[in-house]
């Protein structure tokens, strides 16, 4: 299956001389949800802006469903819906007006039924006649999503779509994304909420300092690093791990007040039972115990730190 977006040798140097992207090569598969993660300033928005025609690339090419974004911009752009990171809205327009405007701008004939559906899906229907200034931040963000969906795009870019959206609505937006994906739309999303990527993405890409440092299927990624940690809060702090316990993968944390045991959930035996027995034999008492799954967040942090 050929990718719906293929990026090759793409770089971007801003007028300030700052190189925001260094030779990006990336393919986005048709119909997938691709989560692009990266710390602030990594180049996520820059990459999206180039694909959507808001910024010019310095070198390289991007094909959108086979159309070059520069030579064949009309065909390329008409497939794309963009929800930018910043909230840019026409304050005095009505919700209905601004969403209809977007559809017209993309050259699509009027279709009130479609716009009604989009607004209903995003729980904006009762606000359709409100002026945008009168809406809350989360509602404005949904208006931006409605604008992007107004022209029935095949590809949807969501640059931090759920920033500033409450938990319930975020779940609602995830449902909207899933429905879109089911109807064949490819979604590229950036987010700082790792759980959002864990929840939604088929594949995850990590970008740091203008370079893609990892692209992996989420399931594989989670599996590969499917480790768990058990943290014991000790009754009295230790200065070092007792030699009697040296066979376990143990480490001290929080000035010796915590003992951390890392184990693989996939292995036959986790070693927890014997560890607890050995701890008792060694006379080490603990006041509390917690286990955490190593998450995408840990993976992300370790990648970006490296």
């Amino acid at each position: 299956m050929s990718p719906i977006i293929s990026i090759s040798g793409l770089s971007k140097t801003y007028a300030t001389g700052f190189m925001a992207l260094k030779t990006i090569d990336l393919g986005i598969n048709r119909g997938e949800i691709f989560a692009l993660l990266g710390p602030n300033g990594a180049g996520k928005t820059t990459l999206i802006s180039i694909i959507c025609g808001i910024a010019n690339p310095s070198t390289g090419h991007v094909l959108v469903d086979g159309h070059d974004i520069q030579r064949d911009y009309r065909a390329a752009r008409s497939l794309i819906g963009l929800v930018p990171q910043e909230l840019h809205t026409d304050a005095f327009e009505s919700v209905w007006g601004t969403v209809s405007f977007s559809r017209g701008l993309f050259g699509k004939p009027k279709n009130p039924a479609h716009i009604e559906k989009v607004l209903r899906d995003l729980s904006l229907w009762d606000k359709k006649d409100s002026k945008i200034v009168t809406l809350s931040g989360g509602m404005k963000r949904r208006v931006m999503i409605a604008k992007a969906l107004s022209h029935e795009p095949q590809i949807l870019f969501l640059d931090e779509p759920t920033a500033g959206v409450d938990v319930e609505l975020r779940k609602g937006m995830w449902d909207v994304m899933r429905t879109l994906q089911a109807s064949g739309v490819t979604i590229i999303l950036t987010t700082h909420y790792i759980e959002e990527a864990e929840e939604m993405a088929d594949r995850v890409g990590v970008i740091n300092k203008g370079e893609i440092i990892l692209v992996e299927e989420k399931a594989k990624l989670m599996q590969k690093l499917g480790r768990k940690r058990m943290k014991l809060h000790l009754g009295s702090p230790l200065t070092e791990v007792p030699t009697a316990l040296s066979t376990y993968n143990l480490a001290l944390a929080d000035d010796g007040k915590e003992l951390v045991y890392t184990y693989d959930t996939k292995s036959e035996r986790t070693g927890i039972t014997s560890l607890l027995a050995d701890l008792r034999d060694a006379g080490i008492k603990f006041t509390d115990l917690e286990t955490t799954q190593s998450s995408l967040e840990d993976i992300f942090v370790s990648l970006v730190r490296a």
Binding site: Y14, C52, G53, I54, A55, L82, F92, L105
Partner: protein
Amino acid sequence: MNFRAVRAIYKFEMSRTFRTLLQSVVSPVVSTSLYFVVFGSAIGSRITQVEGVSYGTFIVPGLVMLSVLTQSITNASFGIYFPKFVGTIYEILSAPVSYVEIVLGYVGAAATKSIIVGLIILATAGLFVPLHIHHPIWMLIFLILTSVTFSLFGFIIGIWADGFEKLQMIPLLIITPLTFLGGSFYSISMLPSGWQTVALFNPVVYLISGFRWSFYEIADVSVAVSIGMTLGFLAICMGIVWWIFKTGYRLKN
């Protein structure tokens, strides 16, 4: 050609105008009336006739042009500056539209508005002095040509401006003086001969002269030259707009 996009932009811009209807229409009417009171009555009582027409009648084309020029520039520059300023330009840039379509939408709307204002001023003037238009078709051609040209010029300013001061600087520091010195309220032949030559470097002189000719068949320079200069300026503006979109100047970073 993405006509739906042109229409969407045009409609959006026009509805912005109608939201500020009072300011867009009432203020030119009021200021025109004031010009008539001040210039027409006060000066007109001393200068009774200029080249065979009464002074009040003589200044009508200049007054219309004055408003059309400033309206075209402010409408068009604000029209494109504002989305740049609030960031909604992202949508225009990411839409499947060519620069021709963007310009048609924005400049078309700005020009429409200034033509409407020009006609309203003409009607207002008709309340003060008797009007007779010798060449109504040419009058409209000049009106449209000027509106379009200066809306294009305003569009360029709106793209170039990176702050509100710059946005207002050009109309205030260049256009208003050029219009006042361009023979809105007098005939160039009334100037000392040295200043007459200087005046010929003022493009607005050609617009007002041609426009006034369509009313009364009196002109400071020949009509052909007037049209030629206007078309020349139009061509320059189109060239600059083409370059802006080709390079993404101040639009894409």
